[in-house]
Symmetry: C2
Subunit: 217 residues, 2 copies
């Protein structure tokens, strides 16, 4: 008789997969702990592999670089956001879609209590900051794709959706920065509400400013 097999249509993880996942988690945990204690540059890969009890060489079998360990935990955010966009009611306006999807994705992502400490680590490690910005760029393209797939307009729509995505992602980024800086007297949910309120208000103001301008011509 073979080991473990399908149960509900999906293949269950055997010893191999399980061990691999455990090792990966061990490395990740050791790395984050050391980074938070000694800073990103203050912890070498050897320190990490020693703490996780694997060879230095194996580290690179699990993560392509030292930086990636830091960002691995939030790799799924963009996909979750895209799913949340697709899950919004079909007749909702684009504004409502964004606010709904973003809020739910954000609440899910910020559930991790470590996220604040990691945010601080990223904030004061230049190379991590740079890498972090890339995340936002990817998030932006994913969001654009999700919105485009939704309201399947023509190609002319693409630039606008791209701009809209950029605006939304920027809002998230700026909101994140504020959230990390300020003493939080608000719940995350309230915070997100306020942030979006401010965003929509700003857009409304800008919109009317622009209207004035073009009508004056």
């Amino acid at each position: 008789m073979t080991d473990v097999q399908e149960i509900d249509g999906a293949v269950k993880e055997g010893r191999r997969e399980r061990k691999r996942r455990q090792t990966r988690e061990r490395i990740e945990a050791a790395a984050l702990a050391l980074f938070l204690e000694h800073g990103f540059d203050g912890a070498t890969i050897e320190d990490i592999t020693e703490a996780a009890d694997v060879s230095k060489r194996s580290f690179f079998d699990y993560f392509p670089s030292k930086e990636e360990v830091v960002f691995a935990w939030q790799d799924s955010f963009a996909d979750e956001l895209a799913d949340a966009v697709a899950a919004q009611p079909k007749d909702a306006s684009i504004v409502a879609v964004i606010e709904g999807a973003l809020t739910s994705a954000l609440l899910a992502a910020m559930a991790d209590p470590q996220s604040l400490a990691i945010g601080a680590l990223i904030h004061d490690t230049p190379v991590l900051s740079a890498r972090h910005q890339l995340k936002y760029a990817k998030l932006e393209t994913k969001l654009t794709d999700a919105l485009y797939a939704r309201s399947g307009g023509g190609e002319g729509e693409l630039l606008r959706l791209r701009l809209l995505s950029a605006i939304v992602v920027s809002t998230v980024r700026i909101g994140g920065e504020r959230w990390n800086e300020r003493p939080q007297d608000l719940s995350l949910q309230e915070f997100a509400q306020d942030l979006f309120r401010e965003l929509w208000a700003t857009l409304a103001d800008l919109g009317s400013l622009v209207e004035q301008r073009s009508s004056r011509r």
Copy 2:
């Protein structure tokens, strides 16, 4: 008799400063040429220093890292933009200020014929892409500061200006990507005009969308 001295209040560069500048330029030119020929990773610092005829160690006396050579040439853009913002007429609307300042700063920056090739280099070198995003982040804060200094509103204005800056910088970034991708049948000036027209139109649309939404409540 001493060497060279003041002429119009400013100290002129002596042999030392001149040589240092020349060496810096030599390294920069050699590096860019090699990067464009063999890719960023395909050219080692030794290759560069050999071509520039300086010791490997000296490289780091001029540039803190290999990456910085690529970005050194555009270090001044953010400052030029800030200056351009300050130089706009006092009574201009914020929309006009941004369009005017951005256009003039962009035209100046894109004058360098190498900028396109460098853009391509950055585009397909992940570590450079990441670093490049940081540039936009810095640009954003500088723009926010410049706008804030201009229309010296209260602190409540800050978040809005930050959002606006983010929107504008995103527009520039997306525009830059388009500019690099597409075959350019337009002059940069026309291109910038079209881009801003699209931005303002998008903002106007969004603005009215948001108005509808909040009035429906």
